[in-house]
């Protein structure tokens, strides 16, 4: 640093980047990520339309026939389903594409603050999770007349927003292994069976014993249990599920970082 400033005194002075400008760069990156996905139907349809449509069909139209608690039960389940895709697609698929198409290379060559790229994607995923949660809660309360207390509503939002994080980590990990246009197909092959086997579409109690066992190692199962608890339908203590989600997040991150170190 000293060697540089002595060689080029005038230039160095103007190259100091204040805290507010660095913060501004993070904000611009997050804003750009949100904007680009809001305008991308290929992302918005699976993220917003699918959970909404499924909830309308299975949770509200058919669900009421299954008993008074069905819309409430499925509000938790489709909330979980909804917050899975921003991380898996917005993070995983996007990363696999951008590692392939030169965008990530350009960003790494540019003086983008470290972490702005990943943080921008996390913000985008949480934002999308918030939007899908809003839609589902509005449908549940206004159309299906599910009674939610203010605490339950707030709790469900918090669960869904934090719940997006394990899937961001999972997306990051997948994105580090998959490269190029195969991304969407592979992620769908993981996303849909994982949702099914976690009991998001049919209660696990109706499924074979083997599926019930597998569900224990799937993050959506645990997030769904937390969400069910929040809306008043859970039976167990919540903390083992929260701990499981934290552990999944840590493991996915660790694998992604390891891969990043080895392969760059």
């Amino acid at each position: 640093m000293n060697a540089v400033s002595s060689a080029m005194p005038a230039a160095s002075a103007s190259r100091e980047m204040g805290f507010s400008r660095v913060l501004g760069a993070y904000l611009q990156e997050a804003r750009a990520e949100c904007l680009r996905y809001l305008r991308n139907p290929g992302f918005m349809i699976p993220t917003l339309i699918l959970p909404t449509a499924f909830y309308l069909m299975f949770g509200i139209l058919i669900g009421r026939a299954n008993g008074p608690d069905a819309p409430r039960y499925l509000l938790a389940a489709y909330g979980t389903f909804g917050v899975m895709s921003p991380g898996l697609f917005g993070f995983g698929v996007a990363l696999s594409m951008e590692r392939d198409n030169g965008l990530l290379t350009l960003k790494r060559a540019l003086p983008m603050p470290p972490g702005a790229y990943l943080l921008g994607k996390v913000v985008m995923s949480i934002f999308a999770a918030a939007v899908v949660s809003c839609i589902l809660v509005l449908l549940a309360t206004l159309v299906a007349h599910v009674q939610l207390s203010a605490a339950q509503t707030a709790g469900l939002f918090a669960t869904n927003l934090f719940g997006a994080l394990p899937f961001c980590a999972m997306g990051l990990m997948l994105g580090m292994f998959i490269k190029g246009t195969g991304g969407p197909g592979i992620v769908n092959l993981i996303y849909l069976p994982m949702a099914f086997m976690s009991g998001l579409w049919f209660p696990l109690s109706l499924m074979p014993k083997a599926v019930q066992q597998i569900a224990l190692v799937l993050p959506p199962y645990h997030l769904n249990q937390v969400a069910l608890n929040v809306v008043g339908l859970g039976q167990e203590p919540v903390w083992p599920h929260v701990a499981a989600l934290a552990a999944f997040t840590a493991v996915f991150l660790a694998i992604a970082v390891r891969r990043l170190r080895r392969h760059g």
């Binding site: 540089v4 080029m8 501004g24 760069a25 060559a109 603050p113």
Partner: protein, 308 residues
């Protein structure tokens, strides 16, 4: 220490291997303010690896890479550069103005949005989504992103691929403007006329090494020989023995020879063979100098066989 003479980027004895392949093999380069440095060479010569090391994307296996006296992986160093890569798929749904604002936010003192747009000729595109642009327009936007941070060193990798002639000349004008402001430019290109029009210094690489470095004129002078081709009954072996002739060989039905005193050789040829026809005398341009230099480096064994 004279600030103007001190390099803004430097590679010293840099080596980079990929497996068994040595992409860059003991490279020494210095880049200065106010110069346009063209890096030329056939595919696989090591240009991209060299640029990647200067940008901090790739670490050298040996040697030292410095950008403004720092490791290029340091953010402080890269805040002083602008980058236009050969292929970068920018987010298709973002508008040009948004892309410029985002990229500008990475820099301490970026140019005003409209100044950038004006310089790169994208003022009329600011509100359009990137995906709606033609290939040439996208290239102009990428150029705008490269210069928006008021860089002191600009990396342009094949900047005018996909541009029409007018757009290309506008980009050249903008590059000259930036250099006049004191920026240095590293240009890689396959268009030799581009290097000829822009570059103040040309470096030809092949097989990870520098073959030749100097001004365009220096490079041309390295191939001071002129080429003579004609149809004649004279035999290449006899002509090759003339003192002025550097090299002579048969190329199909033609005699091909190179010489540094074309006038004397032409007179002698015409004296020796009154029936001589289809006489051509060619001066080596940058393109030929380049071909000459790289062919010699790429296929030395083949050249030896031809000469023998």
């Amino acid at each position: 220490m004279n600030t103007n003479a001190s390099p803004i980027a430097r590679l010293s004895s840099v080596v980079k291997r990929y497996g068994n392949h040595t992409a860059v093999d003991g490279l020494d380069l210095m880049l200065h303010r106010g110069e346009i440095f063209a890096l030329l060479g056939p595919n696989g010569a090591g240009k991209s690896t060299t640029i990647s090391m200067l940008l901090g994307l790739v670490r050298p296996d040996a040697g030292r890479v410095e950008l403004f006296g720092e490791d290029p992986q340091q953010l402080v160093a890269r805040r002083r550069i602008g980058v236009m890569l050969q292929s970068a798929a920018l987010p298709p749904t973002l508008r040009v103005g948004e892309l410029l604002r985002l990229t500008g936010s990475y820099y301490p003192a970026p140019r005003d949005l409209h100044e950038t747009a004006e310089l790169a000729g994208v003022t009329d595109l600011l509100k359009r989504p990137y995906a709606a642009l033609s290939g040439g327009q996208q290239r102009r936007v990428q150029f705008a992103l490269a210069l928006c941070g008021r860089p002191e060193l600009l990396f342009l990798d094949e900047p005018t691929v996909g541009m029409d002639l007018e757009a290309r000349q506008k980009l050249w004008t903008a590059v000259r403007h930036l250099v006049a402001e004191g920026a240095g430019v590293v240009l890689t290109t396959h268009y030799l006329e581009e290097a000829e029009a822009l570059a103040s210094r040309v470096c030809v690489m092949a097989r990870g090494r520098v073959l030749s470095e100097g001004s365009v004129d220096d490079l041309r002078a390295r191939v001071a020989l002129k080429r003579i081709r004609c149809i004649t009954r004279l035999r290449a072996a006899d002509v090759a023995a003339w003192p002025e002739v550097a090299e002579a060989r048969d190329e199909g039905e033609r005699l091909w020879l190179s010489t540094d005193s074309a006038e004397i050789v032409v007179r002698r040829l015409l004296d020796a063979d009154a029936q001589l026809g289809e006489l051509e005398v060619q001066r080596a341009g940058l393109a030929e100098a380049f071909t000459e230099l790289t062919r010699a480096a790429e296929a030395p064994t083949e050249d030896n066989r031809e000469a023998a």
